[in-house]
């Protein structure tokens, strides 16, 4: 575990050093971006309606009983943009994109394609890792913006339609705008940017580490997803703590 983290820090450092290469690799970055968007945008939106909806459903009746129903917009708004949006989308992307990265790089490793790149003096970090990490660190925050908007809408919808909450759209969004500030959204985006880098690094690292045949690839994929999610959830606490300093 600690050895893995060490190796990942080295990989991150090498990727940072490779950043000047990103202009050259822009074609591959766009390809990756397209793939990520294509694979997850619809799923992210569907998921988000339900995330926003369930928060409203859980909290709305409790608030309404105490006459606080009008506060539901802010509550759903904040919890979605600072916490649930970034974390849920990161988990979704770890499963959807992290696994694909680990599988693709892992099979290239096993079938000696990575070796072939090296013999042609093509650095696998420039060719494989850099475009993927850049693409995911752009794509995930963008995805979170969509997800947050859709989740707010889902929350508003449930608040309006559920007869135990019964808050009109107007009231929901007025309260949301009073409570949620731009910095709260930015806060969530910063989190998601960090998560994106974690997913990219963990998955590329696992891919490059793959040994053995198809079973090795399977093992790498599982590890990439599980380790990404574990790291996301642990980092989430510390990031929240750190970002609190910027809140005031």
């Amino acid at each position: 575990m600690f050895q893995n983290i060490g190796e990942m820090i080295v990989l991150f450092w090498r990727t940072l050093q490779a950043l000047p290469q990103s202009v050259r690799q822009r074609q591959k970055i766009f390809e990756q971006l397209f793939e990520i968007g294509n694979a997850s945008l619809l799923m992210a939106c569907i998921l988000s309606v339900f995330i926003g909806g369930v928060i409203a459903l859980q909290t709305g009746p409790v608030l309404a009983e105490r006459g606080l129903a009008s506060a539901i917009g802010g509550l759903v708004g904040l919890s979605v943009c600072k916490e649930l949006g970034p974390v849920m989308m990161a988990v979704l992307i770890a499963g959807r994109i992290g696994s694909a990265m680990a599988a693709e790089i892992g099979s290239m490793r096993v079938y000696q394609e990575v070796d072939a790149l090296k013999t042609m003096n093509i650095n696998p970090i420039h060719y494989l890792v850099l475009p993927r990490i850049l693409a995911i660190s752009v794509a995930l925050p963008v995805l979170v913006v969509f997800a947050v908007l859709v989740a707010w809408f889902g929350g508003a919808l449930v608040s309006m339609l559920n007869h135990r909450i019964d808050v009109p759209l107007q009231t929901f969004f007025t309260n949301l705008r009073e409570v949620v500030h731009l910095r709260d959204v930015v806060n969530g985006l910063v989190k998601s940017w960090v998560f994106a880098n974690v997913i990219g690094l963990v998955s590329c690292h696992q891919g490059l580490q793959t040994i053995g045949g198809p079973r090795g690839i399977g093992r790498s994929v599982t590890k990439a997803v599980v380790n990404s999610i574990v790291m996301i959830l642990i980092l989430d606490y510390f990031l929240t703590r750190i970002l609190m300093y910027f809140d005031k």
Partner: protein
């Protein structure tokens, strides 16, 4: 990462020296004290039984594996020294082909030139077409790697290596999956290329006809040790029983039809 010399075609091979190379995997010795000296422009064939460590030796020469002890010198410099691998153009034809599955045949063959921005796209297209027709795959640029047969992959892999115009070219069993006619074509191309640009070629092969046909010198390796090195006639004359058994093995039907 660009090679010295830019677009200019290197017209001379390099000397390759292997000094006291040892390698074991998980405690099993695979290479034991390998010493080789390959002259610039030579066609050097390595033969030996399956599992004797030939592929592992090639991977050491091109820097994909690190020796436990000993060293590899390219043009007199250790390949571990910084910049040496970048300064020399080298290419390897992998036993499995090792083509990039996500790219088309044409993109694979042109990869070296396009990644290092050595030529314009139209120039690359011309070169790719030329090398593909050389290996009998004219017009298959747009095909996917996954739809090729084993032998076709091998030939694309050879085309990809030729595009690099290397100073050192390593072939891991270039003809093992080819039909006899194509084997001859590839053998001719290995020799042609060697005459045209004096590239140093190291060829691993089981194919006795190919080996004795193209080799300037042959090395026989068994269980990670070099048994004998020399010209084709030297090796044929070698009295070592392992060598004799390897060179003279032939299939005799227990119940001859005629």
């Amino acid at each position: 990462m660009m090679n010295a010399g830019g677009n200019k075609i290197q017209s001379c091979g390099v000397r390759v020296e292997v000094r006291g190379l040892h390698k074991s995997f998980n405690g099993d010795a695979v290479l034991r004290d390998i010493n080789l000296d390959v002259a610039p422009g030579e066609v050097f064939v390595i033969m030996g039984p399956s599992g004797s460590g030939k592929s592992v030796l090639l991977k050491h020469i091109i820097g994909l594996e690190r020796p436990d002890s000993g060293q590899i010198l390219i043009a007199g410099e250790s390949i571990e020294a910084p910049g040496v691998m970048e300064r020399h153009r080298m290419a390897m034809v992998f036993q499995s082909g090792a083509l990039l599955n996500s790219l088309t045949v044409g993109e694979n063959v042109g990869l070296y030139l396009s990644e290092h921005r050595l030529k314009s796209e139209t120039e690359i297209a011309t070169i790719v077409a030329e090398k593909l027709s050389l290996v009998g795959l004219k017009g298959s640029e747009a095909r996917n790697v996954s739809e090729l047969s084993g032998g076709m992959k091998k030939r694309v892999s050879i085309a990809r290596a030729l595009v690099i115009e290397p100073e050192l070219l390593l072939y891991d069993e270039p003809t093992s999956e080819l039909d006899p006619l194509m084997s001859v074509t590839i053998a001719e191309e290995i020799v042609n290329l060697n005459e045209r640009s004096r590239v140093t070629s190291i060829v691993v092969s089981h194919d006795r006809d190919l080996a004795f046909g193209i080799a300037d010198r042959i090395a026989l390796i068994s269980e990670g040790r070099i048994i004998t090195v020399g010209s084709a006639s030297d090796v044929r004359a070698c009295q070592n029983p392992v060598v004799q058994r390897f060179l003279n093995a032939s299939f005799k039907h227990p119940h001859p039809v005629l």
